[in-house]
C-alpha cells in the first residue's frame, strides 16, 4: 500500500464518528467500507496509481453499478448476485479478490451487509479519479486510419526520368523511385552464373546442375532468363520447395507435441496436398477456401473431394494438450489455436491476443475474437476429448468407385463365410475325417480369396479433417459464444454475435450465418456459456470473406510472403504481423501494386513469381556499396540483393544433390510410428529415423524432438505457425558439418562420383561446378590438388591401401566444400 493510500485510509478512519453505525448509514460506509476499499481494492481499481484492472473501478456507486469486464459488480440489495461479494468470499475459483489474500471474515461480512442494505455511497463527490465513461466510439480515428485496414488500391507506378539503371517492369519503378529519393543507386545486375544459382535455389531449393548452368550461359535468346524461370516453375521440385514455406506458416508436423506426443499418421497427406497445390498453381483464394472449409465446398469428383477434405488438415494439425483434464478448456484451447493460426497465416493479425482482453495494440475487441472463436467451437476437430484425445479423421473412400465398393462388400461377405466354415469345422467330430478335410479345403479356398482381394483393394485412407460440429461430437453444434472475461469461461460477459472483425467488416453487420434462439442459454456455474444457435459454424463464410479480393489483408499478406522468400526480407518485415506492433511496409505502393496484380491474375502464385523474378530488382547483384551501407545498413530500400544462408532443408538437399545420392521419390510417409502412437515417450525412446536420402520436406517433423540437423540450422519451431525463420551462426552448425556421419557419408559419395580417369585437376574442376555452379580458379585447383596429396601422405601409416587412402583424401576435401560458406550461402 502506498503511503498516500495509507493516509487516505487513516484519514477516512479518523473521520468516522465513534457511533454505532448501521449498514445503510453514511457512518457505516465511512467507517467500514471506504477504508476497506481504499486499503484493499483501490490499488488496482481506480486508485491514485491509475490502475483499472478488469475494467473495474471501485471509486463510486455508479462505477460499481456499471462494473467492469465481468459486468456490474454489485446488485444493490442482493449480495448473492453481486460479483464484488462473490469475489471477496473466495468461493469462485476464477474470481478471487483481493488476489493477494482473502479479507477477514469481519470485512467480508461488512461488505455483504453493505450491499444488502443497498450499497449506498454518501459522498458521491468524494470519489477519486473520475474517469471518462466508455461510451465513445468503438475505434479511434487512428485505428481506423491504420494502413493495413485500408482497401488496396492500385497505385500508378512512379515515372522515372533518365533512369540510371535498367527497368524491366513496374516493380523496378517503385524501387528506383525510393532509391532516387534517398540518393542511392541499385547494384549492377548479377552475372548469369550467380543468377541461375540464385533462382534455382529460390524456386526449387536445389542447386543447378552443371548442364543447366551451361545451357543458360549459352542461350543467347532474348528470353533466356524467362525460359529458366518457366522451366523451374514447371519442375516438381518447385512445389516441394514452396510447400515447405507454407508448411512453416501452417505449423505442419507429424506429431502432436506438447504434453502427449502422439503421431499424426496421416498428416503427410496434407503436406502432399500442399506440394501438389503449388505445383498445380492452385489459385490462392481456392487454396485458402479449401484449407478452411474444403469439406463444405462442392466437389465435382472423388479426387477433388478427397483433396478438399485433406486440405482441412490445416485446421487439425495444431498442437493440443491431449491429456487436459478440463474438457471445456480443452475445447476452447483447440479453437483458440486454430483461430490464432488462421489470423496470422491469412491476415497477419495476432487475433489470439484478444482472448483475455481487448487486443492491447490492434483494434480487435474481445467480442470480435469470440465471434470468430465460435466458428471453431462449432467445428469438429477431434474424435473425442478423452484422455488421451485424438484428432478427428475422415475417410473419403465413402465415394469410392462402385467396383471398389463392391469388392469391399465381397470381402466382408467372404470373411463371414470363412468364419462360418471355421465354426463348422470346430464342431465336426475328429472322427469324421472326410467332412473335416472338405471343410478345411473350403476354408483354405476362402482364405486365399480374401488374401487376393485384400491385396488388390486400395488401403482405406483416412485424412486428418474437420467437419461441421454437432451436439454428439463433444458439444460442437453451431452456437454463438459469450465473451469470456479474462479468458475464463466461468465468467461470461456479453454474447458475441456472428460477425467478422469490425475494424475491417464494419460496425454495422448482419450475422454471417442465420441464428436462432437457444433455449438452453443460461448462466451455469463452471460451464461455457453459449448463445444463439447458428445454422452452421460459419467456416465457409469466414473462408469466403477472407478470399474476397476486396479483403484488405489477404492478398497483401500472401504477396509479402512470396516477396520475402525471394528477397530474404518482406516488404513488411514482420510477415505474420501486419498490426501496429508489426513493421510498416518499406514500399507500401509496391505492396499494393503487387496485391492488385496478384488478384487480377487469378491469385496465381506462379504468375506472381514470374512477375517478381523478371524485374531488374531481383536480378541485382549482392555487391557491397559503402555509401549505401552507411545510409541504409538493413537494405530496406533494396540497393542490392540480399545474400542469404540456405535453410536447413536446402543445406541437406544440396549435399545429397551434389553427391548424387538424392532420392527424388515424391510423396508418402517416412514415419515409423503407427497412427496416434507415441513418437517419443518418457523413456526418450523414439523410432523416428532420418536416414532417408529423400528431400528434406519428406522427413518426419516431430514436435518436441525435431531432427537435430534441422534444429541446428534454424528450422521453424513446429508448434507455432511462423512465416520467417531465423538465420543464426552457431558452433553446433560447425560441429555438425565437421563430425556428423551424414555429412561425412555424403562427402564420401561426392568424392566417389567424381570422374575416375583424368587428372586431379579435372576432378576438382568437376566438383567446383557441381558444388558452386562455377569454374574453379587456377589457384583453387592447385590448392585442391595439394590438399589431397598432403592428406594422402598424412594417412600413409594409417591406411596401407593406396586407392583407399586417395579416396579418403578426396572425401575429406569434398567435406570442406560442403562446409564452406560459398556452399551454404547464395548470392
Amino acid at each position: 500500500m502506498t503511503a498516500l493510500l495509507r493516509r487516505a485510509a487513516l484519514f477516512a478512519a479518523l473521520l468516522a464518528p465513534p457511533t454505532r453505525a448501521s449498514a445503510g448509514d453514511d457512518e457505516f460506509f465511512e467507517k467500514k467500507i471506504r477504508p476497506l476499499l481504499a486499503e484493499k481494492c483501490l490499488k488496482c481499481h481506480g486508485g491514485p496509481d491509475g490502475k483499472v484492472k478488469g475494467g473495474l473501478k471501485l471509486t463510486s456507486r455508479a462505477a460499481l453499478l456499471e462494473g467492469g469486464d465481468s459486468g456490474p459488480s454489485v446488485v444493490p440489495g442482493t449480495p448473492e448476485k453481486s460479483l464484488l461479494v462473490t469475489a471477496v468470499k473466495y468461493t469462485d475459483d476464477g474470481l478471487k479478490m483481493p488476489p493477494k489474500g482473502k479479507l477477514s471474515d469481519a470485512e467480508i461480512a461488512d461488505l455483504t451487509k453493505w450491499v444488502k442494505a443497498g450499497a449506498s455511497w454518501p459522498k458521491e463527490t468524494a470519489q477519486a479519479n473520475p474517469g471518462p465513461k466508455a461510451d465513445g466510439p468503438l475505434f479511434t480515428p487512428e485505428q481506423k486510419a491504420f494502413w493495413a485496414f485500408q482497401t488496396v488500391r492500385e497505385p500508378k507506378a512512379p515515372e522515372i526520368r533518365n533512369p540510371r539503371a535498367v527497368i524491366r517492369n513496374d516493380i523496378d519503378r517503385f524501387v528506383l523511385a525510393r532509391l532516387n529519393d534517398n540518393g542511392l543507386s541499385p547494384a549492377a545486375p548479377a552475372d548469369r552464373r550467380t543468377l541461375i544459382r540464385r533462382v534455382t535455389f529460390d524456386l526449387t531449393g536445389l542447386p543447378p546442375a552443371p548442364e543447366e548452368v551451361t545451357a543458360f550461359l549459352n542461350d543467347t535468346s532474348a528470353n533466356a532468363w524467362e525460359k529458366v524461370i518457366d522451366r523451374l516453375l514447371a519442375s516438381p521440385a518447385y512445389g516441394e520447395r514452396w510447400a515447405r514455406h507454407w508448411l512453416d506458416v501452417a505449423r505442419y508436423a507429424d506429431s502432436n507435441g506438447l504434453d502427449e506426443n502422439t503421431a499424426f499418421g496421416n498428416a503427410w497427406r496434407y503436406r502432399d496436398y500442399v506440394i501438389k497445390s503449388f505445383n498445380d498453381d492452385k489459385p490462392y483464394d481456392r487454396f485458402l477456401r479449401e484449407q478452411l472449409a474444403g469439406d463444405l465446398l462442392p466437389a465435382d469428383s472423388d479426387d477433388a473431394r478427397r483433396e478438399q477434405l485433406t486440405a482441412t488438415g490445416f485446421l487439425s494439425l495444431g498442437p493440443k494438450v491431449l491429456a487436459e483434464p478440463d474438457k471445456q478448456k480443452m475445447l476452447l484451447d483447440i479453437a483458440d489455436e486454430q483461430l490464432d493460426t488462421v489470423g496470422k497465416a491469412f491476415m497477419g493479425l495476432t487475433l489470439g491476443c484478444a482472448r483475455c482482453h481487448d487486443h492491447k495494440f490492434d483494434p480487435i475487441p474481445t467480442r470480435d475474437y469470440y465471434s470468430l472463436l465460435a466458428v471453431f467451437t462449432s467445428t469438429r476437430t477431434m474424435q473425442n476429448l478423452n484422455t488421451v484425445a485424438r484428432a478427428f479423421e475422415r475417410d473419403p473412400s465413402g465415394s469410392e468407385r462402385p467396383e471398389v465398393k463392391a469388392d469391399r462388400a465381397k470381402l466382408d461377405q467372404l470373411k463371414k463365410e470363412l468364419k462360418k466354415v471355421e465354426q463348422e469345422f470346430s464342431k465336426t467330430p475328429e472322427a469324421d475325417k472326410e467332412k473335416r478335410r472338405e471343410l478345411h479345403l473350403k476354408a483354405e479356398e476362402k482364405r486365399a480369396a480374401i488374401k487376393k482381394l485384400e491385396a488388390a483393394l486400395p488401403a482405406p485412407s483416412a485424412v486428418l479433417a474437420v467437419e461441421e460440429g454437432t451436439a454428439g461430437a463433444y458439444g460442437t453444434q453451431g452456437r454463438n459464444l459469450y465473451v469470456q472475461v479474462r479468458g475464463n469461461y466461468s465468467t461470461p460477459g456479453v454474447e458475441a454475435p456472428a460477425v467478422f472483425p469490425r475494424i475491417i467488416a464494419g460496425e454495422d453487420q448482419k450475422p454471417f450465418v442465420p441464428v436462432g434462439p437457444n433455449p438452453s442459454d443460461k448462466l451455469e456455474a463452471n460451464k461455457i456459456r453459449y448463445g444463439a444457435l447458428r445454422e452452421r459454424s460459419g467456416r465457409l463464410e469466414l473462408a469466403n470473406w477472407l478470399a474476397d479480393p476486396a479483403h484488405p489483408l489477404t492478398a497483401r499478406v500472401f504477396v509479402n510472403r512470396v516477396w520475402q522468400h525471394h528477397f530474404g526480407e518482406g516488404i513488411v518485415r514482420s510477415p505474420d504481423n501486419f498490426g501496429r506492433l508489426g513493421e510498416r511496409p518499406t514500399h507500401p505502393d509496391l505492396l499494393d501494386w503487387l496485391a492488385v496484380q496478384f488478384t487480377r491474375n487469378g491469385w496465381s502464385p506462379k504468375k506472381l513469381h514470374k512477375l517478381i523474378l523478371l524485374s531488374a530488382t531481383y536480378q541485382m547483384s549482392t555487391a557491397h556499396d559503402p555509401k549505401a551501407a552507411l545510409a541504409d545498413p538493413d537494405n530496406r530500400l533494396l540497393w542490392r540483393f540480399n545474400r542469404r544462408r540456405l535453410e536447413a532443408e536446402a543445406v541437406r538437399d544440396s549435399m545429397l544433390a551434389v553427391a548424387g545420392t538424392l532420392d527424388r521419390t515424391a510423396g508418402g510417409s517416412l514415419l515409423n510410428n503407427g497412427n496416434f502412437e507415441y513418437v517419443t515417450n518418457d523413456q526418450s525412446n523414439t523410432r523416428t529415423r532420418y536416414d532417408s536420402l529423400r528431400r528434406s520436406v519428406y522427413l518426419p517433423v516431430i514436435r518436441n524432438n525435431v531432427f537435430d540437423f534441422f534444429q541446428a540450422f534454424d528450422f521453424v519451431e513446429p508448434h507455432v505457425g511462423n512465416g520467417k525463420r531465423a538465420s543464426t551462426v552457431i558452433a553446433s552448425q560447425a560441429l555438425y558439418l565437421m563430425n556428423n556421419p551424414f555429412v561425412t557419408a555424403q562427402a564420401k559419395a561426392f568424392a566417389g562420383s567424381l570422374p575416375k580417369g583424368g587428372s586431379d585437376e579435372t576432378r576438382a574442376k568437376s566438383a567446383y561446378l557441381r558444388a558452386f555452379a562455377r569454374e574453379a580458379t587456377a589457384d583453387e585447383l592447385s590448392r585442391a590438388v595439394s590438399f589431397v596429396r598432403k592428406y594422402d601422405a598424412a594417412l600413409a601409416d594409417k591406411e596401407p591401401d593406396a586407392a583407399a587412402r586417395r579416396a579418403r583424401a578426396w572425401a575429406a576435401w569434398c567435406q570442406v566444400l560442403f562446409a564452406s560458406s560459398e556452399f551454404v550461402y547464395v548470392n
Binding site: 504434453d259 487436459e324 551501407a629 515417450n681 518418457d682 519451431e717 592428406y791 598424412a794 560458406s821
Partner: protein
C-alpha cells in the same frame, strides 16, 4: 520485427568474446552466437547486469519427474494417519485426473532434522541431515493435473502454449559467466511430456536454448553433447579446417563486410577447440575417489546415475553455467506400488542430493547457487487402490537451498490432509517470480517482444515470496 530486443547493457563485446574463446577456458561454446544481420550485436551470452543486486548467481534444479508425494516426504500430516481409510471430509477438486478412494496414511515416519528440526520423512535420511540448508515450501500449487501440462507449466510457465523455458529466460536475462559454455544445460532430460519444449528457448534467440547432455533413455555415464566426437584425427581435421579457413576468408573478402560470414569463420575454430576440451568439463573421472564416493557414484550402485548428474552439475556450476537441470526421470508416478517405488526412487537421489549440498557448501558455492528440488505436482492424500496416490497439482512441496534463501525454514501450509495448499500459497508463477528475483531479475521487467506483444515467464501473474529471503 526485432528478433532480439534486449535492453541490458552488454559487458562484453563480440570481439571480446571471440578473443576470450580463443585464449580462455575454451570449452564447448555451443552458443557463441553471432546472429546474421547483427553486425554490431554483442554475443547473446555476454554477461548482463541484473535489474538489482542478486542473491544467487546460478540455479541447479533437481527435477523429480512424475510427482513425488508431499505427504510422504516433506509435509507431515498426523491427521492423515488418524483418519486413515476414511473418506476425505472436504471437497475434492472439480477437475480430477482420476477417481480416488479414501484417505491413505503415509507409510513413512517423519523425524526432525538439523538444528531447525524440519520434519522430513524416512525416505530422505541424508537430505534430512541438511535440513538447516533447506527452505521447504509446503504450499506450492499449479494448474494442471496431467504430466505433460504440468511439466510444461513447471518449466515454461504455461501449460497451454509454447513458451521459453525458465532456464532460457534466466540466461537471456543474465547471460553466462563462461563464454565457452552454454548458459543453460540440462542433464539427461526426458523427451516425453513436452520433451524439447521443457528446455526450449521458444521465441527467444537460439542462444538461450538449453543444451541437452544425453537424455533419460541412456545412463548418465554415456551422456555426451551431439556431434562432439571428432570425425577424424586432430591433425587431419586441422588440415581440413585450414583449407576451409582459407576458402571462407577468400569468400568473405569477395563479398564485402558481412558479420554472418565473419562469424562463421570463427565458429569453426571454436567448434574445433570445443570438441577437444568439452569432454573435460563433463568428465568426472578426474574427481577424487572420495568425492565420487560421497555422491554415490559407482557401477551398479542405485545412486550412480543421479550421483553423476549431481557431480556434473557442481562442475558446471563452478565453470560458470547459469542454469543447470538434473532430471530423475519419470519415476515418481506412484498410482500404485507407492511404498516400494517411492522407497527405490528416494534411495537413488537422497545421497547424491545431500552430497551436492555439502559439496557446494564446502566450496563456498552454496551461498550464491540456488538449489531447487521438486516435481511437476504432488500426490493426493486419498488413495488409488490400496498403495497408490493420484496426481495433485493443488498442493505439493518443493524446497530451495542456498542462493539467498532462509535455510532451516518452512513456508506455507496445506490443509489437515495435504490436499490443498491453504496458508501462504505459492503458485508456480509465484515461485518463478521468486527464483528470478533471487537472481536479481524483476519478473515483470524481464520481457521479450514477440508476435506483437511483450512476453514474460510469469505471463500477467506472479508475486515474489519475500518471506523466504535471508
Amino acid at each position: 520485427m526485432p528478433t532480439f530486443c534486449n535492453t541490458f547493457t552488454p559487458a562484453l563485446s563480440r570481439r571480446d568474446v571471440l578473443r576470450l574463446s580463443a585464449n580462455g577456458f575454451g570449452l564447448l561454446a555451443l552458443a557463441d552466437v553471432l546472429r546474421a544481420n547483427e553486425a554490431k550485436a554483442p554475443s547473446a551470452l555476454a554477461v548482463k547486469r541484473p535489474h538489482f543486486e542478486p542473491r544467487a548467481k546460478r540455479v541447479i534444479f533437481l527435477f523429480m519427474h512424475g510427482g513425488p508425494s508431499q505427504v510422504d516426504t516433506f509435509d507431515p500430516k498426523p491427521m492423515l494417519k488418524r483418519h486413515h481409510g476414511q473418506p476425505y471430509p472436504g471437497q475434492k477438486p472439480r477437475v480430477q485426473f482420476a477417481a480416488t478412494g479414501n484417505l491413505l496414511q503415509s507409510p513413512w515416519e517423519f523425524r526432525p532434522g538439523g538444528q531447525s528440526g524440519i520434519q522430513v520423512s524416512d525416505l530422505f535420511p541424508e537430505v534430512r541431515k541438511r535440513a538447516d540448508d533447506l527452505c521447504v515450501i509446503r504450499s506450492v500449487h499449479a494448474d494442471n493435473s496431467a504430466h505433460g501440462g504440468a511439466l510444461l507449466q513447471l518449466h515454461t510457465g504455461s501449460d497451454t502454449f509454447v513458451r521459453p523455458s525458465i532456464g532460457s529466460w534466466v540466461t537471456y536475462g543474465l547471460g553466462s559467466e563462461n563464454q565457452n559454455l552454454p548458459g543453460f544445460i540440462t542433464l539427461c532430460p526426458t523427451l516425453g511430456h513436452g520433451g524439447l519444449q521443457n528446455w526450449s528457448s521458444a521465441f527467444l534467440p537460439a542462444a538461450y536454448q538449453g543444451t541437452p547432455i544425453g537424455h533419460s533413455g541412456i545412463p548418465a555415464k554415456q551422456a555426451t553433447v551431439k556431434d562432439i566426437t571428432p570425425a577424424a584425427a586432430p591433425d587431419l581435421q586441422r588440415m581440413q579446417l585450414d583449407l576451409l579457413k582459407q576458402m571462407n576468408g577468400a569468400h568473405l573478402a569477395q563479398s564485402g563486410p558481412d558479420a554472418a560470414l565473419e562469424g562463421r569463420i570463427g565458429s569453426f575454430e571454436l567448434a574445433f577447440r570445443m570438441q577437444a576440451e568439452a569432454p573435460a568439463v563433463t568428465d568426472i573421472s578426474k574427481e577424487p575417489l572420495k568425492t565420487r564416493e560421497m555422491y554415490g557414484i559407482g557401477d551398479g550402485r542405485p545412486t550412480d546415475n543421479f550421483g553423476r548428474q549431481c557431480l556434473t552439475a557442481r562442475r558446471l556450476a563452478e565453470a560458470g553455467v547459469r542454469f543447470i537441470q538434473c532430471t530423475h526421470s519419470y519415476k515418481w508416478d506412484q498410482h500404485g506400488n507407492l511404498k516400494k517405488d517411492h522407497t527405490k526412487n528416494a534411495l537413488e537421489v537422497d545421497q547424491p542430493i545431500a552430497a551436492l549440498l555439502a559439496d557446494l557448501k564446502q566450496r563456498d558455492l552454496l551461498k550464491d547457487t540456488l538449489v531447487w528440488w521438486g516435481g511437476e505436482f504432488g500426490r493426493t492424500p486419498a488413495a488409488q487402490g490400496g498403495d497408490g496416490r493420484d496426481h495433485n497439482p493443488h498442493a505439493f512441496s518443493m524446497w530451495l537451498a542456498g542462493g539467498g534463501v532462509n535455510g532451516g525454514t518452512v513456508h506455507g501450509a496445506t490443509d489437515d490432509f495435504g490436499y490443498y495448499a491453504v496458508d501462504k500459497k505459492v503458485h508456480m508463477h509465484d515461485l518463478h517470480a521468486t527464483i528470478l528475483h533471487l537472481l536479481g531479475l524483476d519478473h515483470e521487467k524481464l520481457t521479450f517482444r514477440h508476435a506483437g506483444r511483450d512476453f514474460r515467464l510469469t505471463d500477467v501473474k506472479g508475486t515474489v515470496v519475500r518471506e523466504i529471503f535471508e
